[in-house]
Subunit: 385 residues, 2 copies
């Protein structure tokens, strides 16, 4: 089963970071949107609809953003799937284009975390796992311990994910962190949940990213030649929960199913993926999720990272943007930022972080409780030039 | 421009009301969903995806609901457009069916307001109009004063909306209030914002409603004959803002445009509408929105109501369910509850509140700030037997 691809006519971002209260969600989103509209050579009047992904922006955030863009009046839809909210907005826009409902859609992912989520994301009051201490960092720490025990992986291998992603984002002008870090920096950072330290964790971030997605009619409206842009071939979305006490914390059933959805919807197989933007909310997560997708053999992810196979120039580059760890993780914005990076890589305009011969890229987000009974969502976006 | 209709295979609700904390959002949504699944003669394994509309349910509410339904694993999308959230979920499901992405979709609208919104919905901290006292009730009170001044309408005519909608919901087993009220009850109720009193305002409510929507392939999967169910012909979605100080508070430009979207997407004209489920968050709102849609001549809505033209048995029945005023208004659930009522009316199974010869119905929701700079969304769902 496949539906029509969506053409990526334009992308835009603001540099992720931590901004004062005067830099509002609305202003960040409008700035990223204007860049995407300009990148597409479009006018605001070309846009048929908005799909906006965010988590903490409050009711009708998309409508408030639209007023800032002079886009009031259009169909506006707010989407939430926790850290996969931005990717979910992309998916719904892709579906609306395929259905023939709209031809030119502005997709926005945005989050102002420093205002709304002071000190970190709090678990839901009804999250019984979190209530007994099983919060995200704890879950990923257990995942790391299990991974090390099962596969003989080392702490250094896991830490090397952070070193690699920081090295990549030195070349990303939109990244929250644009400096390299050493293995020793990661290993000696303040402990968060043993064995993970501060640099194993993605930061609290503010930011926005935007895209102009078009049907073939939409491309014509913007005067863009068919076939000249990257195309979103398919967007997988699955949900699932990992029960506390399950046999294998790192089984990654949701990643496996999200991968299967991506291959089915895009018609692309895993062997055709040239590079990945992976939801590395914690270092270990990049490893187990790549393995869950079947893109790295189970138990090999730590070694691959240490040996540079997932670095730019390696066998299968992962997170050329710097990923969540170093580009930053304004939760609702992340999925759209990943898709922006896919676009730049596929266009060959990624500058110092360009992957050679990048033809097919995959972006992966995971939202919701990571390990727990409440479940979460995984999105997989396949884009090709 | 039109896309394929969605077939309504099943609907379900719980009675709206105010429930203790032990009645959770997840349990309410699961109960309504089970009723819809049963009504469709379906099994949970028939369902391809969930679209969930809510405002205050917190992140990944749909995923938490799915776990309660044994539906974990599916694509789940959470939608938010304030009081139009449920209708927005219907719209996205309609689009996904038309695109061929899914064949059987469970749509849920749900809200647990008494837990999350103690004492009423608070305006956004950034809402400058609300900060100077221009909250929803105040806006609608000004709308009522303006309407009375412009059209010679009486306070009694506006109050008669509440009398009518309560009279209707006497026959609705899902309504929060199932008792009739008198004109004097409305006129003598505690003042809220002059001239509006307590019974001119929709209540704080908890509740859930659900639907099974199908493509033609989906109907086959469920063993339902094509053409035997009501069909959603089109779902309009527009946004807009009414600026404080604009020339005409009751201009209802968004309603006019939402109506135009409905007619265009459904291929149905306003003269073909047999009855309406209207977003009567306040008595006066039902009147000015019906006029904005062009279904009642401007300035006549008060008189029509007083004369019984919008009662069941009248020329154009409005809110046979009791509407937001009397069925209740759990904000994210309202759009789906309206669509459930359209379904029952079109099936001819609405019991004591049945509208004779109901062939085409319209449901209208408005979400976001009602009068203010932030804008909001209006949805229009056209359903026909």
């Amino acid at each position: 089963m496949s539906i029509d691809p969506a053409n990526v006519a334009g992308v835009g971002m603001i540099r992720f970071g931590k901004f004062p209260a005067s830099v509002t969600l609305e202003h960040m989103a409008a700035a990223a949107s204007r860049e995407a509209i300009s990148d597409a050579g479009a006018k605001v009047t070309d846009i048929d609809a908005l799909y906006v992904g965010h988590v903490f922006g409050g009711p009708v955030a998309g409508q408030r953003i639209a007023v800032n863009l002079g886009l009031d009046g259009l169909p506006i839809t707010n989407l939430e799937n926790y850290c996969a909210s931005g990717a979910t907005a992309i998916r719904e826009a892709w579906v609306a284009l395929a259905a023939g409902l709209h031809d030119v859609i502005l997709v926005i992912g945005v989050e102002k975390m420093t205002d709304r989520v002071a000190g970190g994301v709090k678990p839901d009051p009804g999250d019984l796992d979190a209530a007994v201490g099983y919060v995200m960092a704890a879950g990923h720490a257990m995942s790391a311990r299990r991974y090390m025990a099962d596969h003989g992986a080392t702490r250094e291998q896991i830490a090397s994910v952070a070193v690699k992603n920081h090295a990549h984002s030195v070349h990303n002008p939109y990244a929250q962190y644009q400096h390299a870090i050493s293995l020793n920096d990661v290993l000696s950072a303040r402990p968060i949940a043993d064995p993970l330290g501060l640099l194993d964790c993605s930061p609290i971030s503010d930011g926005a990213a935007a895209m102009i997605l078009c049907s073939s009619n939409g491309l014509k409206r913007l005067g863009i030649a068919a076939g000249s842009t990257p195309r979103i071939l398919g967007c997988g979305l699955v949900s699932g929960s990992l029960q506390l006490g399950s046999d294998d914390l790192n089984d990654e059933d949701v990643s496996r199913r999200a991968g299967a959805a991506a291959w089915e919807l895009s018609g692309v197989g895993p062997s055709e993926i040239d590079f990945v933007e992976m939801h590395d909310c914690f270092t270990i997560a990049e490893i187990v999720r790549m393995e869950g997708l079947g893109l790295i053999p189970v138990g090999q992810g730590g070694r691959w990272t240490q040996d540079g196979l997932t670095s730019i120039g390696g066998k299968l580059p992962v997170n050329p943007s710097g990923g969540l760890l170093s580009r930053g993780h304004p939760v609702g914005a992340t999925g759209v930022a990943q898709a922006c990076e896919l676009t730049w890589q596929l266009r060959g305009t990624a500058g110092g972080r360009q992957i050679e011969s990048a033809r097919v890229g995959l972006a992966y987000c995971k939202g919701g409780t990571v390990n727990g009974t409440d479940g979460g969502s995984v999105t997989t976006v396949v884009m090709a030039q």
